[in-house]
């Protein structure tokens, strides 16, 4: 994006790795400068977090990573590192990833503010570790984006070492992102399974330190690694033994719920799987993260079918799902019709797509749902029908098995009917008036509980500034500043959506 605009503005001003001569390309410099300024703001915040010992201040820079990542060019990194690293060894270290740092094209006005910030973060002689790790992380992200995988591995090892060496609370928010990108680096190198033991030991430490963001991110990486190798047993055991922190970022929660859904679906606990997948689809940011949404939706449709429900038609028609859910739509139609032959045909045509989506093994299980739907239709249409006729209608060759299939369907309450085995007939029961049972009561109760729970959760999510009740009331100017900050924060939260993988 950035480089494209640069090209349009002035092709000659661009050297081959995107270095721009400041004055000639105002648009590009603008984005670059704002990104640099953003990073500077975040570094300032980090420094304040360390100075005041308030880990919450460090959360914003971490959340901002998502949208910094969009505009993160080698040039931005060079400018930030040039401005902030005073120690020659730091400079030398970063230089091996971002290139030569010696040339100086920054304007003097920026240099002054840089100088001040650089001095603050070097108060103790060396750079504040949190800031150091933050800069490292930016470098790692840019390496990953540039697909320099082997270099990213080396760099990831170094950062993780630094995070482990530091035991301050203020490192936690950054640490959680570091773990994420560390695991991601191993994943793109195809070695995610190698670091399971390490991730588990870090999870232990994070749990002991009550580092919630760290726990969330580590658990997700572990689950991802287990599921990648189809180790559903291990994944289930891990999930069964931990309490997942609730007060973490929605993206983390969405991922966790998605993994849970997959584990439960494999274990045949479909209604739980559906709950988890629904949660995942609700927690996901409303704009962006399309890949994740599509994957969740595929699983959700499959699980709904396995539950014997027919997913709503509207889902298949939505713009962002129409293409990717097409095979699932065909599948749903086949099941709705209760035609086994058609189902097998769909299964054959789209086998490769389903295998790629990793839903194939679940879809194979759908075969008996086709039969169930068929039975349901027959039961609705006939008040009394012979088993032989049922077998014909379902295109099943063994009449003997149809007895069992029908008995099983009644047993599982797929249909309300009775089987007269001696005369070989299926007799459906009169439809019961649902309002004479307690089903409506239970359904209503469930909804009320959901609303109350949502209310509870939102009360818990509110934050109040510590001890502000006996401080002075804020002046108009302070208020304006606060409101502006809040607006910025809101924008960032709305923006960050691309770190869902």
């Amino acid at each position: 994006m950035t480089t494209m605009e640069v090209d349009n503005a002035d092709p000659t001003g661009v050297s081959k790795d995107g270095v721009v001569d400041g004055a000639d390309a105002p648009v590009a410099v603008d984005i670059e400068t704002t990104t640099v300024e953003d990073i500077k703001d975040f570094v300032k915040l980090l420094e304040r977090a360390v100075a005041t010992g308030d880990a919450r201040l460090a959360v914003r820079p971490v959340r901002g990573l998502g949208y910094i990542r969009k505009n993160l060019t080698a040039n931005v990194l060079r400018r930030v590192i040039r401005g902030l690293c005073l120690k020659p060894e730091d400079r030398a270290y970063f230089a091996q990833y971002v290139g030569d740092l010696s040339e100086d094209t920054t304007k003097s006005s920026q240099s002054a503010s840089f100088k001040k910030l650089a001095d603050t973060i070097h108060k103790q002689g060396t750079m504040v570790p949190e800031v150091n790790v933050y800069l490292h992380l930016l470098v790692l992200i840019s390496l990953l984006d540039a697909k320099k995988n082997t270099e990213a591995m080396a760099s990831a090892e170094v950062i993780v070492g630094k995070v482990i060496a530091n035991t301050r609370r203020t490192m936690d928010p950054i640490g959680s992102r570091v773990y994420f990108f560390y695991a991601r680096t191993y994943e793109v190198n195809g070695k995610l399974s190698n670091i399971r033991r390490f991730l588990l030991s870090r999870l232990r430490t994070a749990t002991l330190r009550q580092d919630e963001e760290g726990q969330a991110s580590l658990v997700n990486s572990l689950l991802r690694s287990y599921i990648q190798d189809n180790l559903y047993d291990q994944a289930e055991k891990l999930v069964g033994k931990l309490t997942y922190p609730e007060a973490v970022h929605n993206n983390q929660l969405a991922r966790f719920q998605y993994y849970l859904g997959r584990i439960k679906a494999t274990k045949l606990e479909y209604s739980e799987a559906q709950q988890h997948l629904l949660q995942a689809s609700r927690k996901v940011p409303s704009n962006g993260a399309i890949g994740f949404k599509q994957t969740v939706q595929k699983w959700l449709v499959t699980v709904e079918l396995l539950l014997g429900d027919i997913p709503e038609r509207a889902i298949f028609l939505e713009k962002e799902y129409r293409e990717c859910l097409a095979p699932y739509y065909a599948l749903t139609l086949a099941i709705r019709a209760g035609k086994l032959a058609r189902f097998n045909e769909v299964l054959k045509t789209y086998a490769e797509r389903f295998k790629k989506d990793e839903t194939y093994s679940l879809i194979v299980r759908l075969r008996h749902n086709v039969i169930k739907t068929g039975i349901r239709t027959i039961n609705a249409a006939y008040s009394r029908i012979s088993v032989v006729d049922v077998a014909k209608k379902l295109q099943l060759d063994s009449v003997e098995d149809v007895y069992f299939i029908l008995a099983k369907a009644i047993n599982e309450r797929v249909i309300e009917a009775q089987l007269l085995a001696d005369s070989g007939t299926l007799v459906s029961k009169e439809n019961v008036n649902i309002y004479s049972t307690k089903d409506p009561f239970v359904a209503f109760d469930k909804r009320i509980k959901f609303c109350l729970d949502t209310h509870d959760q939102s009360v818990k999510a509110m934050r109040f500034p510590a001890k502000s009740y006996h401080g002075d009331l804020e002046t108009a100017e302070e208020r304006r500043e606060r409101e502006q900050q809040e607006a910025e924060l809101a924008k960032e939260i709305a923006d960050e959506d691309d770190d869902i993988l």
Partner: protein, 287 residues
């Protein structure tokens, strides 16, 4: 170390000899097997990240475990068999470094799948299946057999389960097939009780796959099914259907007063009162 390994090898040879004798002595095999396992703990019985186990040691440990699994089947010890397989899985899936794949691997994994089916542990069954590639399952008779059976079970084609006895891929499968037949029979009995209001003894016998009358009779007596006028069984299907929701045993004592159908479906006052009070509490918190 090397001398120790020689001893273990000698023990293993002794065990195979004993195992292949006809008839073999069970107690002798058992003691030998236990001795072997103890001896192996001094080597790399279960591979860990620390220390390199030699290929010879790994193969030996795997052979001993496979022997143990076979012995467990012979001894009709399901738990013991599954324990051995759990240990063997480390060798089958995780230790790959240069050792040849065991010729018995797929047979044992297939047996393991079948044992899970027989115990009705379908969730575990599916997580095991996920570990195998679809192509292997389709091509390998040992693996495709239990997978096919599971599909029949889910579908309700129970007669295929009983007829599959003829097509087992290895004699060792017959033990678990017996167990599976029992599990399936229990499932059918439940289905009958919940779907057939009236059924003749003859139909019931056929549906439960009993070839002879006495077998059927002892099964019926064990489950406290009462035969009524004209040799028919009668079931209160309605009650049986909801009984499970109340956690009541289907074959509970008849002497005890049983809740009536209306009791079970009606809304109890206590339940309603409790729910309403909980809403009131929540509302108070909000206001």
């Amino acid at each position: 170390m090397a001398a120790g390994l020689q001893n273990v090898m000698a023990l293993y040879r002794q065990l195979t000899e004993e195992w292949n004798k006809k008839p073999m002595e069970k107690s002798k095999c058992e003691t030998l097997l236990n001795q072997l396992k103890v001896a192996l703990t001094e080597h790399h019985f279960i591979p860990t990240a620390e220390g390199e186990a030699s290929k010879q040691e790994i193969v030996l440990a795997r052979d001993v475990l496979e022997m143990g699994a076979q012995f467990a089947i012979f001894d009709r010890d399901i738990k013991g068999f599954q324990r051995h397989i759990d240990q063997l899985k480390v060798y089958y899936y995780d230790v790959k470094g240069g050792i040849p794949e065991s010729s018995l691997m797929n047979q044992f994994l297939g047996l393991y799948l079948l044992s899970l089916l027989a115990e009705n542990r379908l969730g575990d069954f599916h997580s095991e299946v996920e570990l195998m590639s679809l192509d292997t399952i389709e091509k390998d008779p040992y693996l495709s057999f239990p997978v096919q059976l599971e599909r029949c079970l889910m579908e309700g084609s129970y007669s295929k389960i009983f007829s599959a006895n003829k097509s087992i891929p290895a004699p060792s499968y017959s033990f678990f097939m017996e167990l599976l037949a029992e599990t399936t029979r229990a499932e059918i009995a439940k289905c009958i009780k919940r779907s057939c209001p009236i059924i003749s003894a003859d139909s019931a016998r056929r549906m439960l796959f009993f070839a002879t009358e006495p077998e059927f009779k002892s099964y019926v007596d064990k489950n406290k099914w009462k035969i009524g006028h004209g040799g028919v069984f009668q079931f209160d299907t309605e009650r049986n259907l909801i009984q499970d929701d109340f956690g009541l045993e289907a074959d509970m004592d008849v002497d005890r007063p049983q809740p009536t159908l209306a009791d079970m479906t009606a809304l109890s006052y206590q339940e309603v009162a409790e729910t309403m009070l909980s809403y009131a509490r929540e509302l108070e918190k909000i206001v």
